[in-house]
């Protein structure tokens, strides 16, 4: 009997783990962008959507993520949106709504979105600042 209760406990814990909506790491060089179908290679510009059901979509450029969300008419409020930190691409992804986004031709993103994300405005170095426009997710076209 004890075994069975243990088993159900394990079963439910697995069930809950799999239901948790969370960031899923990207396998660079293997996985394709959900929108443009290109292989995701550039760690500096990768981003990800987790929808309300916990389904994960990965992108190589912020422009792809925005186009995808618009095409599928996803409601921003229900989504978890992640973007790579341009300065520390190997560290934790940033929440798009809190990140400091800059648009500049100098950012050579795979799909010419020209957008990079920083953890805060202090992180932006002088050379990246020139000709750059701060933007945010909601007014991204």
């Amino acid at each position: 009997m004890k075994n069975i209760s243990l088993l159900t406990a394990v079963f439910f814990s697995i069930l809950f783990v799999s239901c948790k909506r969370t960031f899923q790491p990207i396998e660079y060089g293997k996985e394709a962008c959900s929108h443009c179908k290109m292989t995701i290679m550039d760690k500096k510009f990768a981003c990800e959507i987790v929808d309300k059901k916990g389904k994960v979509f990965k992108f190589d450029d912020m422009l792809c993520m925005k186009d995808f969300a618009n095409d599928k008419k996803l409601n921003d409020e229900e989504l978890l949106l992640f973007v790579a930190d341009y300065k520390n691409p190997d560290s934790k992804f940033l929440d798009v709504k809190n990140a400091y986004l800059l648009h500049s031709e100098a950012f050579k993103t795979p799909m010419n979105g020209h957008i990079a994300a920083f953890s805060s405005s202090d992180e932006v170095s002088g050379s990246d600042q020139t000709n750059a426009q701060p933007i945010d997710w909601s007014n991204l076209k």
């Binding site: 660079y28 060089g29 293997k30 394709a32 179908k37 290109m38 292989t39 290679m41 500096k44 050579k108």
Partner: protein, 409 residues
């Protein structure tokens, strides 16, 4: 007699402005110094040896010829050769070891704002970017060996990278181990001929926003995800071979938002997906061979006005897959090895139409994990039933005149 003499003088006059030929020997920055000392139209013969130099600027019209492949070694520090003048010839060098950086694109040979450059017979080894063309026109890049085997594959660059160029000829190069073998962005009116692009991390060839280009007789083998042609018009793809592009997100050709293009006489062997099409208009797909692929063609419902004529489909797990019921493309006179119809009037054309999309192709498109039951008994029954009474498969997608015989291509 006087007149004859005048003619002679006229004929010999080019000799007066004949350029000098200088030999360059290894030494402390001897190559850069020789270039600085040379005059326009001079020829430099670079003698064998190792030249540990980088950021070499060629800013006048010179002909630089390496003898027995002298080694220009960037020692992993910076970029190596910049060409900023018109009509420079660079040949017979071994250019190796650029620096690596995630911020600047480190190139072994960079042609910048220059025209009519000829880069040929070089060995370009272990660089981030091999040959980088930027605002260059009428340049020819031919017979080069461009290889990289960097361990940090994610930060590697492209073998031949062209950005905002036109009228290029990329011919007879062998490229491997880069991110994309050949990369075109905003490049028009150019030709890519007889190159062999293998084992690149991402694509063998990658087109972005590049109109009216032609690629013929190339081989793309064992690249990460094949060849991608995106957001372009008027691309002509003939006589190419696509082989062993295997993997979850791998395609022999990925077409996205392409219009008015031709894909003819190509060979697709053993690819996960032979031809993947999304949002395309007016593509002629004719006389290609699709052999032993997972999916020969995946054509999304967003594609229109394309004609698939006289292709051979042999030994593919799925001939055609699609994600909708609408079909605005035409299939005609193709040979399908899975066709089991008949030809009573013996005109070489099957009397009943062939439906190339199998039930299971439809199911796996919606539920990819259903693939696990492929080749089960139930699947076979479903397939047979659908053939008699199509209900799930898109019945508009059919070949009304399937060929009974394989096309000789």
């Amino acid at each position: 007699m006087k007149r004859l003499f005048g003619l002679f003088a006229l004929l010999l006059s080019p000799l007066l402005c004949l350029a000098t030929v200088t030999r360059v020997h290894p030494g402390n920055n001897s190559f850069s110094k020789a270039i600085a000392a040379a005059k326009t139209n001079d020829t430099l013969l670079v003698q064998p040896g190792v030249y540990k130099e980088h950021d070499i600027l060629i800013n006048k019209k010179l002909t630089i010829i390496g003898q027995q492949y002298p080694i220009i070694d960037g020692a992993n520090k910076s970029q190596i050769i910049f060409i900023t003048a018109d009509s420079v010839v660079l040949q017979g060098l071994q250019v190796q070891n650029t620096g690596r950086s995630s911020m600047t694109d480190m190139a072994a040979i960079r042609v910048q704002n220059a025209n009519y450059a000829l880069v040929q017979n070089n060995k370009v080894l272990n660089n981030t970017y091999g040959v980088y063309l930027q605002n260059a026109t009428y340049c020819t890049i031919q017979n080069n060996e461009i290889h990289s085997n960097s361990k940090d594959e994610l930060n590697s660059g492209n073998g031949i990278h062209a950005w905002k160029c036109n009228n290029l000829i990329i011919r007879n190069n062998r490229i491997s181990g880069h991110r994309d073998g050949i990369y075109f962005e905003f490049v028009t009116e150019s030709h890519i001929i007889k190159n062999i692009s293998t084992k690149n991390v991402r694509y063998g060839l990658h087109f972005m926003f590049s109109h009216n280009d032609t690629y013929t007789y190339n081989q793309f083998v064992d690249n990460g995800s094949g060849v991608a042609v995106m957001y372009s018009k008027g691309v002509i793809m003939l006589h190419n071979t696509f082989r062993y592009n295997w993997g979850d997100a791998a395609y022999a050709i990925l077409l996205k938002e392409i219009a008015d293009s031709r894909i003819e006489h190509n060979l697709f062997i053993k690819n996960t997906v032979g031809l993947y099409m999304e949002s395309t208009t007016n593509i002629a797909v004719g006389e290609n061979q699709f052999i032993d692929n997972g999916w020969a063609i995946k054509v999304m419902a967003s594609c229109a006005q394309s004609d698939f004529v006289k292709n051979n489909f042999i030994g593919n797990s799925f001939d055609v897959a699609t994600n909708g019921t609408m079909m605005l493309n035409n299939f005609k006179r193709n040979y399908w090895d899975k066709y089991d119809g008949y030809d009573l009037n013996r005109n070489g054309i099957g009397d009943v139409p062939y439906y190339p999309v199998s039930v299971y192709a439809v199911l796996t498109e919606q539920v990819p994990t259903a693939m696990i039951l492929y080749r089960s008994f139930l699947t076979n029954i479903m397939d047979q039933v659908e053939k008699v009474m199509p209900s799930i498969i898109p019945d508009q997608l059919k070949d009304d005149e399937p060929s009974m015989k394989k096309w000789k291509l």
